[in-house]
């Protein structure tokens, strides 16, 4: 699972740094170590990202082209805001080091 997570990060890097939507083959070619990766692996990863809502896709000819649905900063902001708002939740989804004291 960790390897796929790494690949997800690499794929998103490619999509973020591209000014236009990319197909699976374009991403595969642009990946570092791209020649050693299977097309199907990259395709699966990009499909997973689509299922998670991190990328949008549309048909361009026979293949899909993908683009990111949110910027990296937007993702970061969502993670941070969710984590910061779950300070004292009963379910203990996450455990902070310390909460912040309210300003006087």
């Amino acid at each position: 699972m960790r390897k796929l997570g790494d690949l997800e990060a690499l794929v998103m890097e490619q999509l973020w740094s591209s000014s236009e939507p990319l197909s699976v083959r374009q991403v595969l070619v642009a990946l570092p170590d791209g020649r050693n990766r299977a097309y199907t692996t990259v395709m699966t990863v990009m499909d997973n990202l689509f299922q998670k809502g991190f990328v949008a896709r549309e048909r361009a000819g026979r293949a899909y082209v993908y683009r990111p649905s949110q910027s990296r900063a937007e993702h970061t902001a969502e993670v941070m805001e969710e984590a910061l708002s779950l300070g004292g939740d009963r379910g203990a989804a996450l455990l902070h080091f310390v909460g912040q004291l309210a300003p006087p």
Partner: protein, 338 residues
Amino acid sequence: MTTPLLLFGIAALVGGLVGYPLSRAQWTRQAPRLAVALWHALCFGVVSSVVLGGMALALPALPSVVTGGLSDFLARCAIALRAELAAPQSLLLAVPGLLLALTTIGRVVVAGATTSREARRVRRGQLDRLAVAGRRLRGDHGEALVLLMDDRPAAYCLPGRRGRGTIVISSGSLDLLADDQLRLVLAHERAHLRQRHHVAARVSGTLSDAFGWVPLFRLAAREIPVLLEMAADDQAMHTTGVGNGCEVGRSGARRRMAHALLTLATARPASPAGALAAAGGSAVARVRRLSEPRLPLGPARVSLLGVGILLALAGPLLVASSPALCAAAMEFCPFAFS
């Protein structure tokens, strides 16, 4: 009739009253893990008292096929139990008794499953986003460590399976913390993961969700998270002190821990005050605790607490089965057995 009354009385007494002095007791700050164990034992005692009380009401009406097929000894116990419990009016209470026992268990199980599911959903979402938005760092101790590029200070862990989880730290935290403070923060989060504090917190959270009107459960849900933070502080100071052969010594470690707490707790910009009031409140208690030298509890008090925990866990069951125990010593028991 006395057994169910006794059990419900115990539940009312412990559930209604014991939480208040316990939440104010100072010894809990010296032995936070023991305190958490006591809170849990008391909560378990209250729930088991109610469930066993309900079952004690229901037992006379249960078909004897339930107790049939047991060994001779147990059969005699069952008969004696029924003799003790089957006063005429108690048969009317059999159905409510059974319902009480079943709905209590059911409510706890459903509340527990709901919070577990929600927590898993949140963690899954966090991990998915962190995989793409965060940068993975190499952790010193094998756990997953992720850096989030954000100015706001944040340091937290996402529990996973088998004590391994993910620690998340923001770049804002790194900017604020000195190296030794950062080591303590990471060690604190590792302690949460290794000791599986999220499970302990979820137990009290579940009871508070299911029966929030019981003072003991409400107070436990308030106190236990703070105690777990203190336990993680202790563990963090212990592991970082031992790990790098530090010359600073124990009081130095406490001072640095307090400093790390204050640095992150008072950093701006502060997040929505209301939501973090609960977590922020622990900062004050923890810094205050760290500014005093560590005084472990003496063996006498620890033993006393151990006895208290055992009583809370086993007491209701002993009370519930006391008629049967009485029947076991048949020569001395007033129940005639012909």
